[in-house]
Point group: C2
Chain length 219, copies 2
DNA sequence: TCCATGCGTTAGAAGGTATCACGCAAACAA
DNA sequence: TTGTTTGCGTGATACCTTCTAACGCATGGA
């Protein structure tokens, strides 16, 4: 169909197409950062670009396809950020901070992938693969660190038998458990903070996040 | 202005008004359960009720006011459920299960209050009070149970000085910490499950929830 | 130079929120 | 019983949204 990697020089038409697609996504991110994914309007993007509405349908079949692309980019960004830090020798504890910095850098980007699914949008299975890529980095970090093992538990026994999500990763059940706990516990604090549920409560969300990060990384 | 408590018999007009408002909310909950809060359409509700669109504006100033009312009801339902179980002597561990049952009973209702805020909606301060009511029940349960105290931590010191959210509640810093952990950790698992982020991963979310519930209640 | 591909346009359908003015019915007062 | 007032439901309308269809023109390839 189309191949439109902007780096890969093909025909001028395809180069132009890739350029416009990129610009559409740029404006889309601006809108999302400003008002959230559900407020994303193809019409408004077109207006910003000096185009008329239907022109954008040359580049994205519909609103969902654009959102899918943005979700893909968001996952990719998180996976890249994680992997870069992990390869630089960052500890699991460091990855926790990396996650928060990445999330606060663009809260709506975090909520786009880990928040409540946007209205009528239905995700393609493709995103499962991207989500798994993030998990893979996490599993690497969990397996690499010689953390005080979590005590054996019924959950770990269950995870040992249901490790489809870990793919081929040779992580031990305690590592699987730790990766899931890392994800869910940090997401618990982070998503409530980003959704504004701590505002007016008086305490500093960063302190709570630190405490959870310490606890979940065996601190 | 209006006083429209359906129990409080006043004028026939006000009684009718309260009745219609209640029916609108009933249809709204149906729509939300089916497609989420952002898909809620005043027009569709009117159609279902055999009315024409603008008629609903006699009962709710706009879409946001309706959503606010629904959020209020959701908080109230959760607070009532919690309080009833707590007064029946349910342990903190039992409250964790209560929370999951309540959430799974109507996932969109949970996401309405604890999920990503809906598009252009801005919550009134009123909801802070309702959220605090839920927290109050939680603090009661945390303070009541003679749990193995969480070790002193920088977070607890911080919470001791920033306890606005606890109101007048005489909870100790460890209890404050436990209440927050209860909330954030269970929300972490629950929200990811409700948003569908565990689908296709292979393990049973209930097991993970149980493990978190056990851990956070000192099991 | 010619011609096919494909981009951007306007027009329009279908559906959403929300406002307005109007008519009528119900509630209340005399 | 007979006004009078209050307020509910209506259709028309304005302005959004996504998305389709048909048309014109420019660009790229041969």
């Amino acid at each position: 169909m189309d191949r439109m990697d902007p780096t890969e020089a093909t025909t001028p038409r395809q180069r132009y197409r890739a350029q416009v697609r990129a610009e559409i996504k740029r404006h889309a991110w601006e809108q999302i950062a400003a008002a959230g994914a559900s407020a994303l309007s193809l019409n408004a993007i077109a207006k910003q670009m000096g185009l008329s509405g239907p022109a954008l349908y040359r580049y994205f079949a519909n609103r969902d396809e654009l959102i899918t692309e943005l979700i893909r980019d968001a996952y990719q960004s998180l996976a890249d950020t994680f992997r870069a830090r992990a390869e630089a020798g960052t500890s699991l504890r460091g990855l926790a901070d990396t996650l928060r910095v990445w999330a606060l850098d663009d809260p709506q980007r975090y909520l786009l992938i880990y928040g409540t699914p946007v209205p009528g949008y239905h995700a393609p299975e493709d995103t499962t693969r991207l989500s798994a890529e993030v998990m893979a980095v996490l599993l690497d970090a969990c397996a690499a660190e010689g953390l005080p093992e979590l005590p054996p538990s019924p959950l770990q026994a269950h995870l040992a038998d249901h490790r489809a999500w870990a793919g081929e990763h040779p992580a031990t059940p305690p590592a699987l458990h730790r990766a899931l706990a890392f994800w869910t516990r940090l997401h618990g604090v982070l998503s409530l903070e980003l959704a504004g549920h701590f505002t007016g409560m008086g305490f500093d969300p960063a302190r709570l996040y630190d405490a959870e990060a310490e606890a979940v990384t065996g601190g």
